[in-house]
Symmetry: C2
Subunit: 400 residues, 2 copies
C-alpha cells in the first residue's frame, strides 16, 4: 500500500461485487495521517469513497464539491450499486444540467461515519479486527468536512470553484466556507440551517431510540450477532420521512386515499396510501443503510451549531470571507424553515459577504431540493454561470 | 347483577387496589344491550368507567360531558390512580374554575377501547376468557360517542348542557353535535379537526409500527406472554409528543441546552435536555397505558372523517342543529392547525348555526388546551356563562 504521498494510498475497490455497477474509488489514509476529530480522538486509518464526473481542467479551477445529506452518498449522478436507481441528484448534475459536468469537475464523497465506502461504524477497527460498532468515535459535521478536505488535497485541488449541498450537505457547505475561506470560491447552502433546533434534535432522538429499542441492534454489535435492526431502523426512517415532506405535499400525494379498497377494512393493515408509502420508505431504507451510521450521522447533525462554535455570534464564522454565497430555502420546508436560512443570510450580511438569497415558493417541503423545481434549477444554473464568469471559466457554451 | 334497566347494571369496582385512591364507578352493559359498532360488530358486554364532579340539578339540565383526548382518561379533575398526579384538566374543571363544578354536573368517561376501566383490548373477551388483544373490534370516534350516550342514558339525562373536549375530545364533541342534535345544548370543540389529515395518519402509523416492531408486543398477545412492549410504546409516545408541542415551545423550553454537562460528551447519552425530556415522556407513559389501546385509539382517530361520513359536505353533518358552538383553536397548533377549525366553523356557518370562533394566540402548540392560557380560560368561562343564562341556569354566583 504505497501512493503519491507517503501517508496515503489511492486504490479502486469494488464494494458490492454482487452488482455489476462499478463501485467508487476509495482513498485510504493510513495510520501516519490520522483524522483528528472534534472529540479529540484520532481516526486512523480512514478511507473516503467518492465519485467524480466531468474533467478537471489544467488550472484545477473548475471543481465543484457536492456534499450529501443524511442518508445519501457519493452516487450523486451515477446508478446506486445497491438500489440500482439513478443518482440522488441526477436531475441536477450531468452534461448540460444546472451543475454541468461538461464544464465542471464534480466530486461527491461519502461522509466519514457513512456506510458506502468511507470509514464508519461498520468498518473494521484495526485494533480489534472487528467492526467498530459503538466504539466508533462520535463525529461532527466539521469532521466530515475535514475528511473531505483531505480528499481535495489528495486530488491536488487548492481552491474549489464551488461547494454545494442541501440539508446536512448545506451544513457542510457552511463549514467549508467558514474553515477554508480561501479554498471556496462559491458556496450554495440549500434548505439548511446554521444549527440544529430543539425540534430537529427531538425527531432524531426518536429515530435513535427506535433503532436502539430493536433487540436485533444488540447494543450496536449486530454485525457480530449476524442480525440487522431492520424494524427499528425502518421506524426511524418513517418518522424522519414525515419531516421531509410538507403537510400539503402529503395531502396532495395521498390525502385520505385508501390503498386498494373502496371502504375501510377496520383492521391494522396499511389501509391508507400514506401508511403504505411510509412502510415502503422504511423497508427499502434498511436494505441500503447501516443502522449505526444512522445513529452517528444524526448525532453529528444534532451537535451542529455554528453559532456556538463561533462564540455565540454566527457572523464570526464568516468574518473575512470572500466567497460568493447563494443561500436557497423552500417556503414549505418545516425541517429547516426559511427563517433559519435568513439567519445565515443575516450573518453573512453582517460581515459584508457577497450573498444572494432565494426563498423558493414550493409546497413540496424539505425534499424540494431533490425534486424537479424549475425556479430552483434556474437559480443554481444562473448563480454558477455568473460565478464561473468571475472565476475566469468563461460563459457556458451554447447547448441545445 | 341487576339494575334500573333490564339490560344494564351499574356497580362500583376498584380497579387499582394497590393504590389508595378510589377508582371510578363503572357501568356494565350486559349482553342484552350490545354496542353496535361502525365495523358492524356488536360489542357485548361492555363497561364504561367514569368520574363525576358537582351535583346534577333536579331538572337534570346542568350536565357537562367532557370528552378526553387520545391518552387521557376519566380522571379529568381527580387524582390519577396510577400516576398520583392531579387530573389532566384540573386547572379547568373544579369549584370556581372555568368549568365550575359548583354550578355544573361534570361527567367524564373513559372511551371504549381505552384502558382505564372501559372495555378495551386488554379486557377479557367472555367468549374466550382471555384478553381480546387484536381480536377486539376496530372502533371509531362515533363508537366512543355511542358508548358515552349509553352512559348518559343510564344517568337519566336527556339533554347535556354542554359537551366539551380538546383534540380527540373535540372530535367526540363534533360527533355528539351531529348525532344527537337535541341532546347537546352547547358544544365546545377545542384544538381539533373534522377529519384526520394525511400527516396525522402518518405520525400515528409510525407509532403503531414502533409498537408492533417490539418483539414484546407478541402480535398483540403480550398479556398472555407476560411481557409489555414498553420500548415500542415509548418510541410511539416520543414521536407523538413532538407533534403536541410547537417548535417555538420546544425552543423556549429546551433550546439546545445540555442536560447536566457544560460541554458535549460525544456519546449517545441523553445529552440535550430535549432528549431527556422525550425519554421521560416515553418511559412514564408506558406505566399507565396499554399498548393495544394505543393502537386502537390511534386507528379510531385515523378513521375519523366527518366530511366523508356526511357525503362529502361537512355542513351536512350539522344541518338542523340548534346547538350553540364555541370553536377554539391555537395559533401554534400544527397537529390540528387553525385552518382545520376554520373549516368546521365554515361548515357550521353554512347551516346558519350559532357559532363563535376563537383562535387563541399561543406559542405552546397543540398542548396549549391543557395549559394555563388565560384567554382560553376566559373564553370557555364566558361562553358557558352566556349559554347557562340561555339555558335558564341563572348567572354565576359572585365568588371570590
Amino acid at each position: 500500500m504505497t501512493g503519491a504521498s507517503p501517508n496515503l494510498v489511492a486504490s479502486v475497490s469494488r464494494r458490492h461485487p454482487e452488482v455489476d455497477t462499478p463501485s467508487s474509488p476509495v482513498v485510504h489514509f493510513d495510520t501516519g495521517a490520522p483524522l483528528h476529530l472534534a472529540c479529540q480522538q484520532d481516526l486512523a486509518p480512514f478511507s473516503i469513497a467518492y465519485e467524480t464526473y466531468g474533467e478537471l481542467n489544467a488550472a484545477k479551477s473548475n471543481a465543484i464539491l457536492i456534499c450529501h445529506a443524511l442518508t445519501a452518498d457519493q452516487y450523486v449522478a451515477s446508478r446506486h450499486p445497491i438500489t440500482g436507481k439513478p443518482g440522488w441528484w441526477d436531475n441536477m448534475v450531468g452534461p448540460g444540467k444546472p451543475i454541468d459536468t461538461n464544464r465542471f469537475f464534480v466530486i461527491c464523497s461519502n461522509v466519514v461515519g457513512g456506510c458506502m465506502g468511507s470509514t464508519g461504524p461498520a468498518s473494521i477497527d484495526p485494533k480489534t479486527g472487528a467492526p467498530y460498532g459503538l466504539t466508533f468515535p462520535v463525529i461532527t459535521v466539521g469532521d466530515m468536512v475535514e475528511a473531505q478536505a483531505r480528499l481535495i488535497d489528495y486530488l491536488g485541488i487548492d481552491q474549489l470553484f464551488a461547494v454545494i449541498g442541501g440539508s446536512m450537505g448545506g451544513m457542510q457547505v457552511l463549514e467549508w466556507a467558514s474553515r477554508y475561506k480561501d479554498r471556496v470560491f462559491a458556496a450554495v447552502p440549500i434548505a439548511t440551517a446554521a444549527w440544529h433546533s430543539s425540534q430537529n434534535i427531538a425527531f432524531h432522538e426518536v429515530g435513535r431510540q427506535a433503532v436502539m429499542a430493536d433487540p436485533e441492534w444488540s447494543g450496536g454489535n449486530y454485525y457480530a450477532a449476524g442480525t440487522v435492526p431492520k424494524n427499528g431502523l425502518a421506524v426511524a426512517r418513517m418518522a424522519a420521512h414525515i419531516t421531509y415532506l410538507s403537510e400539503e405535499a402529503l395531502h396532495r400525494k395521498f390525502g385520505r386515499n385508501l390503498q386498494d379498497r373502496s371502504s375501510l377494512s377496520f383492521s391494522f393493515n396499511a389501509e391508507f396510501q400514506v401508511e403504505s408509502y411510509l412502510r415502503h420508505q422504511g423497508s427499502t431504507f434498511v436494505d441500503r443503510f447501516d443502522a449505526n451510521s444512522y445513529l452517528y450521522i444524526t448525532r453529528a447533525l444534532d451537535y451542529f451549531d455554528m453559532r456556538e462554535s463561533a462564540g455565540g455570534v454566527l457572523a464570526n464564522a464568516f468574518r473575512g470571507t470572500k466567497t460568493r454565497f447563494c443561500v436557497v430555502s423552500f417556503t414549505s420546508d418545516w425541517l429547516y424553515p426559511t427563517r433559519e436560512s435568513r439567519e445565515i443570510v443575516q450573518a453573512l450580511n453582517a460581515v459584508a459577504a457577497n450573498v444572494s438569497f432565494v426563498d423558493i415558493e414550493s409546497d413540496k417541503g424539505h425534499d424540494a431540493f431533490l425534486l424537479e423545481e424549475p425556479t430552483f434549477f434556474a437559480t443554481v444554473r444562473g448563480f454558477l454561470n455568473a460565478a464561473a464568469m468571475k472565476r475566469g471559466l468563461g460563459s457556458p457554451e451554447a447547448r441545445k
